[in-house]
């Protein structure tokens, strides 16, 4: 079976089924005034009809989506990336005990619950495959959490103003990395979901879904929705990598460095950022310590610290590090780009720094 057409009750059946198989189901919901992934048991918890209006440094929600208040996936993206379910913001790695000079080190088991992530977009899947390249090989904790995921993606029917996945080749159509992919359809007044499988586990689930065979109209509506979501204004030049490689001394870095606050918002929302630092926390008796891994940001002055001071002393150097890493050096390090085109860093930068504009500014000769 290639695909299945289900209605809302079919989708609720899927959530229930995942729940009964032991998965914690996480899906977009409204949280603190933003769309954010959280635990969900009922479709009622999804942000129906919500659309986000984004621009550089701007995020507003509208609750009267253009297509009415039915669409469950009318928003484009969760505010944060989904990587916190794979790479948590803090995690204890091991515990040490010292007794009279004798040291004992106990690895602490990784928390790796079975999780079903529902509502990821093509760019979110691209981000996971980028992090797989970076972490899966050497970090058994990440690998274990990754193995325990079931991924239900959604094809976008509309892009936010900050999206540029089309230019990055990561979306908006979901093509790989998913177990199941949904396309939400409303044509002809019937609210339904076209479901396709992308893995063996997904195919097994598809078999069991209560629904029917999709028809030509359904496929046509899917195509039209993806086409609509492909209309995006922002892009990056084809030769961005070469441009950055030859622009390390460009005076524009100083200009963007004057605007950047080094707040690290961009690095905390970016779904591919993976930096971490280790900290040691000692117990009150001074004989026990726990070694923690915390997510970190290259905008932090400690990030490049060598005894005597940081290598990247100013914001210009740190912004250059972030941008050249994402769009160029990542390729040499991990054989893939570090940017999916999700636009989150543009939306959440408090001063509205937009990486697509910064790259364009570098194109202007020094």
């Amino acid at each position: 079976m290639k695909a299945r057409l289900i209605d809302k009750s079919g989708l609720q059946w899927l959530l229930d089924r995942l729940g009964s198989q032991g998965y914690e189901v996480l899906a977009p919901c409204l949280e603190n005034g933003v769309v954010e992934a959280g635990p969900v048991t009922s479709l009622e918890e999804l942000p129906a009809g919500v659309e986000e209006e984004t621009e550089a440094g701007r995020y507003r929600l509208r609750f009267d989506g253009k297509e009415g208040t039915d669409l469950l996936f009318s928003h484009a993206l969760t505010a944060m990336g989904w990587q916190r379910f794979l790479h948590p913001s803090s995690e204890p790695l091991w515990r040490a005990e010292l007794r009279g000079g004798a040291l004992e080190i106990q690895p602490l088991p990784a928390e790796a619950p079975r999780r079903a992530l529902v509502g990821l977009r093509a760019c979110d899947l691209a981000a996971i495959s980028i992090q797989d390249r970076v972490l899966a090989q050497n970090d058994p904790r990440y690998a274990r959490r990754r193995e325990n995921l079931f991924l239900v993606a959604v094809n976008c029917g509309r892009a936010a103003a900050t999206c540029f996945c089309h230019a990055m080749g990561t979306g908006p159509e979901v093509k790989q990395g998913h177990d199941l992919v949904l396309t939400e359809l409303v044509g002809g007044g019937a609210h339904r979901f076209l479901v396709e499988a992308g893995s063996e586990a997904g195919a097994g689930m598809l078999q069991a879904l209560p629904g029917r065979e999709p028809e030509a109209d359904d496929w046509e509506e899917k195509r039209a929705r993806i086409e609509a979501a492909s209309r995006q204004r922002r892009r990056l030049p084809e030769d961005t990598g070469d441009l950055l490689a030859s622009s390390l001394d460009h005076p524009h870095w100083e200009k963007v460095g004057e605007r950047c606050l080094a707040c690290g918002n961009c690095t905390s929302v970016c779904p591919t950022c993976f930096c971490s630092r280790m900290v040691e926390r000692t117990g009150l008796d001074g004989q026990q310590a726990t070694h923690w891994r915390l997510r970190d940001s290259c905008f932090d002055s400690e990030h490049s610290y060598l005894h005597g001071g940081p290598v990247r002393r100013d914001r210009a150097a740190r912004y250059r590090q972030w941008l050249t890493h994402k769009l160029h050096h990542w390729q040499a390090q991990f054989g893939t780009t570090g940017c999916t085109g999700c636009g989150r860093c543009i939306t959440w930068c408090p001063v509205g720094i937009d990486l697509t504009e910064e790259v364009a500014a570098l194109e202007v000769a020094a």
Partner: protein, 274 residues
């Protein structure tokens, strides 16, 4: 995928000997009952209980797999804690990590070692190899620069290396009364005739400026750029390519280095704050 050992978890080793090399610099000799093999130029993450982990080069003789040696300068929290440890106490070790010196490519040729300060530590295993097997390299020259006579590391060892045929040249930035040797930057020691550039390989470790000028000088004396190797230093939290701290442009110093051939890093070293 699952069930693999976690590269973030240290093993525990006991300190057999503690050698006070000079003020603030301590060598720790660790017992390695299971044997510990490494390539010269590699490093370990050393863990001091309750404080943290830092990257430290392996500074011992590679032939002594039962003994693992590190030489630590107390500069900050973790390094201070490490230098305070006593024989019989235990610490955490993760490694060996990184890519060491490309010694295969030197075999039969001349070996030029250039060290600044504690940069001598990762070169010491190379010197010991040369002493143990005099036919391995044609000529071996060591250029070593340090701040002042009180900070000259391993005087006795260097005497031993000299006797084994290594040409050892030492200089200090500023002399004190009684110092008979050279004064000035390490590049002043490097002279034509010390080695045969066509068959020489140079291994450099020290502060970044020192390596930049040494590389220039040695290249000027005829050693091809691709046979000049530098050991780079960047902040490291994990040592296995996961934490992102040791980025140096397109390179991860812990995974791709710390040793790099000059052409891989030359242009990057020119960029301020990379």
């Amino acid at each position: 995928m699952t069930g693999r050992p976690d590269p973030m978890v240290p093993s525990v080793l006991r300190i057999a000997r503690r050698i006070e090399e000079m003020e603030g610099v301590v060598s720790l000799e660790l017992e390695a009952p299971g044997g510990f093999s490494f390539q010269p130029g590699q490093f370990n993450m050393l863990y001091a209980f309750g404080v943290g982990e830092v990257p430290i080069s392996i500074s011992g003789d590679p032939a002594r797999t039962d003994r693992l040696r590190h030489t630590v300068r107390a500069v900050g929290q973790v390094s201070h804690a490490l230098t305070r440890l006593r024989p019989g106490m235990e610490l955490g070790v993760r490694g060996p990590l990184g890519r060491g010196w490309p010694l295969e490519e030197v075999a039969g040729g001349d070996l030029v070692l250039a060290a600044g300060g504690l940069g001598l530590a990762p070169l010491r295993p190379v010197a010991e190899l040369a002493v143990a097997d005099p036919r391995r390299f044609r000529r071996v020259v060591l250029y070593y620069g340090t701040r002042n006579p009180a900070t000259v590391l391993w005087r006795q060892e260097m005497e031993r290396w000299r006797r084994a045929g290594i040409r050892v040249h030492v200089t200090v930035d500023s002399a004190t009364p009684g110092w008979q040797g050279e004064v000035g930057v390490v590049t002043r020691l490097m002279q034509p005739g010390h080695f045969e550039p066509a068959v020489a390989t140079a291994l450099l470790c020290g502060p970044e400026v020192m390596m930049r000028f040494s590389a220039q000088t040695l290249h000027g004396l005829g050693i091809p750029a691709e046979r000049i190797h530098l050991s780079m230093e960047r902040n490291m939290n994990c040592g296995v390519g996961l934490c992102g701290h040791c980025q140096f442009g397109p390179r991860l110093v812990c995974r791709d280095g710390p040793v790099f051939p000059l052409p891989e890093v030359e242009s990057l070293m020119q960029v301020r704050g990379l």
